[in-house]
């Protein structure tokens, strides 16, 4: 039995033209072209007037750092996001922007980095789910899944359709994700950082499949930031930086150093400053390993020191163990092995005062439904001026919060205002003020300027430097090079859970 979905998926290009009501004179070369697309999120210009052409039968890599605009571009292509300006043409026809289902039917498939599978369903059921277009579809799951299974066979994958997805390895789950997306008549396949979750041999297998998809005439778009992988597989490479299109070049015409320069741009000058008067050694970490949420060793045998009165920056692409190291230093995660000392004593026995400014301020930093006062109180339990044993001295606390609101010029009308109703910059100021007011001796900061406008970023940076000048040892984790070089006195890069010396643009993109 055929469903509506089947017929729509198996449309030929001519039929697609008809589906969209386009007359023959407009038919052009079959490809996907992006024309002058712009997109803005609040203060951040995610894409600025970007135009690219993706051809059939090519593997086209889109390169860029975190926040370069890769994901935004791909979300526009696949209909998840509506751009502010510009258009996207598939085979010469404008695609319905911002309509994910329509884009999928037209043959643009996205393979997400975070899988969109139902873990409790079998492989077959997941395939069938993707082909189901109405709740009254009567076809059985075997029929609906047939296409995907035959695609699997043609790609040389052995798949047991009756196994639950939750029992599969990550690599196998990705295969299911790929099959699910490509089994229709998708002509454009967008892979969002597909290698991030894979082991080395799985990457090889994935690349083999990408080449095979290319050979069958599909347009394969690969979002990536690992240069070596891109160079080994892409036919053409597009580089984005801070929302701008830097270049689109053939693979043969570029080399690693050139791409790294394009991605990172001009390396920011490290600011020269008088501060950094190294006091006694503060934090000393030796052979430290920390496990991630899935039990993998996210941080692997790292060694570093942070003196009191200096900012040590950790750069690098997200997902290389920064989160785990941050959470360890902040006392949230425990170490798997190694040692961590403060002023020569094990950190748990030392008198270190840790301040933590988390990267994800809306989830880890703040409880958005609670008041400014409630959010400020979180790290004050030791303060006898605010707590009478276990009871809150409400007046004193209100006064204290008011003084912080004033001192850090937070735009909040009163301590009882909900934090969720403040702007992003003021929310960050709440986190920064309560953290710094505690006079931490070890300050752990992750991407403090993320999502803030220039003025707020500047303010938060100044506060961090002020804490350093007052003698705090500061560990700064950021993916933003400007931030890294503006704040840190020394810097490292994190690559696959290890720490590397700073080697400029190349260390940024080698992740």
């Amino acid at each position: 039995m055929l469903t509506k979905e089947h017929t729509l998926c198996s449309l030929t290009i001519d039929e697609k033209h008809e589906f969209l009501g386009v007359t023959s004179q407009f038919k052009l070369m079959p490809n996907l072209s992006v024309k002058n697309v712009s997109k803005r999120y609040g203060p951040v210009q995610a894409l600025e007037n970007v135009s690219v052409e993706f051809l059939e039968g090519e593997i086209h890599a889109v390169l860029g750092e975190n926040g370069a605009g890769k994901s935004t571009l791909m979300h526009i292509l696949s209909g998840f996001t509506n751009p502010d300006k510009g258009s996207v043409l598939l085979d010469g026809i404008p695609i319905p922007l911002g309509e994910a289902f329509a884009c999928k039917r037209l043959g643009i498939a996205m393979i997400h980095q975070h899988f969109t599978l139902v873990p409790e369903f079998t492989v077959q059921e997941n395939f069938a789910l993707a082909r189901l277009d109405s709740p009254f579809c009567l076809a059985d799951e075997g029929t609906l899944a047939k296409d995907a299974i035959s695609t699997a066979n043609s790609l040389g994958w052995k798949i047991d359709p009756t196994v639950r997805v939750s029992q599969l390895s990550v690599g196998a789950q990705q295969r299911i994700e790929i099959l699910k997306a490509s089994s229709g008549d998708a002509s454009v396949l967008i892979f969002d950082e597909p290698t991030a979750v894979l082991a080395a041999d799985e990457v090889e297998d994935l690349f083999r499949v990408l080449r095979q998809l290319k050979a069958t005439g599909k347009c394969v778009i690969l979002i990536a930031h690992k240069l070596s992988e891109v160079l080994s597989i892409a036919d053409r490479i597009t580089v984005l930086r801070k929302g701008h299109l830097i270049a689109t070049e053939m693979r043969a015409d570029v080399n690693e150093a050139q791409l790294a320069d394009w991605m990172v741009g001009e390396m920011p000058e490290r600011e020269i400053r008088t501060g950094a008067s190294l006091q006694s050694p503060g934090l000393k970490v030796t052979h430290l390993s920390v496990k991630g949420d899935r039990g993998e060793s996210a941080v692997n045998q790292v060694d570093f020191e942070i003196h009191q009165g200096e900012v040590v920056g950790f750069g690098g692409v997200d997902g290389n163990g920064q989160l785990e190291l941050v959470e360890f230093l902040a006392g949230v995660r425990t170490m798997a092995s190694g040692s961590c000392e403060w002023e020569g004593k094990p950190i748990s026995e030392s008198n270190v005062r840790i301040g933590y400014i988390p990267q994800d301020r809306q989830n880890d930093g703040l409880a958005l439904g609670m008041s400014v006062l409630d959010n400020m109180m979180v790290s004050t339990f030791q303060r006898e001026d605010l707590w009478n044993r276990t009871l809150l001295r409400f007046k004193a606390a209100s006064e204290w919060v008011k003084s912080l609101i004033q001192e850090y010029s937070i735009k909040a009308s009163n301590p009882g205002q909900r934090v969720g109703s403040l702007s992003g910059g003021n929310q960050q100021k709440v986190v920064v003020s309560r953290t710094l007011d505690n006079k931490p001796t070890l300050l752990v900061v992750a991407s403090p300027g993320r999502g803030l406008d220039i003025k707020a970023t500047q303010y938060v940076h100044d506060q961090i430097l002020r804490a350093r000048d007052q003698g705090a040892a500061v560990a700064l984790f950021t993916t933003d090079l400007d931030e890294l070089y503006r704040l840190s006195d020394r810097s490292y890069f994190m690559v696959s859970g290890r720490i590397q010396e700073d080697r400029g643009a190349l260390s940024m993109v080698r992740g």
Binding site: E327, A330, G331, V332, Y356, P358, D360, N363, D364, G365, L366, A367, L368, G369, M370, D374, M377, V378, S379, F381, W387, T390, L391, L392, F394, R418, G420, S421, L422, S423, G424, Q427
Partner: protein, 343 residues
């Protein structure tokens, strides 16, 4: 400004719901409203009926507030209330009917204490299952309700049955061993006062104490609590145990103030009714006083109404359900917008 408007709209909305329900039931509007009002507040007996029904609901409602604020959806107030009553009656069997001669000022607090501990234990089971094994509290507490109901019906016709072994009831407490009453003609007892005091204490606990603050924080954002090195499991566990303690206490108030004995009909759903009280009170201890009073008045008033029309008692539940549904959907609607306010 908006806050005041909301508070003013509230009674109007409830009156509207009341009127609509009466119309749907095809009851004479003015007559019925009069009957409801006089039944609830008409004279001192009306007030007495209202307040006596308010107090157990208020206490279980406060229990729900603590749990729900802590992100624990305790649906087991009924079970915790019953087990509280059971523990109270068990202790009474020893202290009052076991030949131990102790003065009432000692016995009554001891029995109330036993009730609280009983509720705590019942809630602790669900809490422990949640913290150690990840069992959803909603499920475990609902199931524990059934266990408690069956346990009660076994005990009142078994170990706790009255001396003559004729009816499935426990021995009836002598008047001297019950909570003091305002007058002999009325049911109004000191439990009402206790409930009000408890509301104040719960308010102070949640908004002025360290442990209460942590419970609210964990309920609002587990991730923030974790990032600030707070013990999430300890807060969750204490939230549900305190909640259970209050529900057990409500059982004790009903036992010591009203019934004086336990039977299978010991609970008139006071444990369940705590949930609408808490929700309508906006999960705020002090607003719960008003929402409990509202429901108490509805129950008392409908008793009066039931003398003239058969649909009287069903009416309360209808009104109550509509009120809560309206309120909850209003809240859900408002909650969808908060983060858009930020510019």
């Amino acid at each position: 400004m908006r806050r005041t408007a909301q508070v003013l709209l509230f009674p109007i909305g409830i009156l509207l719901i009341l009127v609509l329900t009466l119309l749907v039931f095809r009851l004479p509007l003015v007559e019925s409203l009069k009957l409801l009002a006089s039944g609830a507040f008409g004279d001192k007996f009306g007030w007495s009926r209202t307040l006596v029904k308010t107090s157990p609901m208020l206490i279980t409602g406060l229990g729900m507030v603590i749990a729900w604020k802590g992100g624990i959806y305790n649906i087991g107030g009924e079970g915790q209330y019953i087990v509280g009553g059971i523990c109270g009656a068990a202790l009474a069997k020893i202290l009052v009917f076991g030949g131990v001669a102790l003065p009432p000022w000692l016995v009554i607090p001891l029995i109330l204490m036993a009730c609280i501990i009983g509720g705590m234990i019942w809630a602790f089971v669900a809490g422990l299952l949640y913290v150690k094994r990840g069992v959803e509290v909603v499920i475990s507490t609902i199931l524990l309700n059934f266990v408690a109901i069956q346990l009660l019906s076994y005990l009142v016709s078994g170990p706790l049955q009255e001396k003559k072994k004729q009816v499935p009831l426990t021995d009836s407490l002598p008047d001297g061993m019950m909570l003091p009453k305002l007058s002999r003609q009325m049911d109004l007892h000191a439990g009402v006062l206790i409930a009000l005091i408890v509301a104040g204490i719960v308010y102070l606990f949640l908004f002025r104490s360290n442990a209460g603050y942590q419970i609210r924080l964990v309920g609002e954002s587990i991730r923030m609590a974790r990032a600030n090195r707070l013990n999430v499991n300890r807060s969750k566990l204490s939230a549900i145990v305190l909640s259970g303690g209050l529900c057990g206490m409500a059982g004790g108030i009903e036992y010591l103030g009203m019934s004086g004995q336990l039977g299978t009909g010991f609970s008139q759903q006071w444990g369940f009714l705590g949930i609408p009280v808490a929700l309508l009170g906006g999960l705020h201890p002090l607003w719960c006083i008003l929402s409990a009073l509202l429901f108490g008045a509805l129950f008392a008033g409908s008793e009066n109404l039931a003398r003239f029309t058969t649909s009287g008692s069903a009416l309360v539940y209808v009104i109550q359900a509509i009120t809560v549904l309206t309120y909850v959907s209003y809240r859900a609607y408002m909650d969808r917008r908060p983060y858009l306010e930020a510019s």
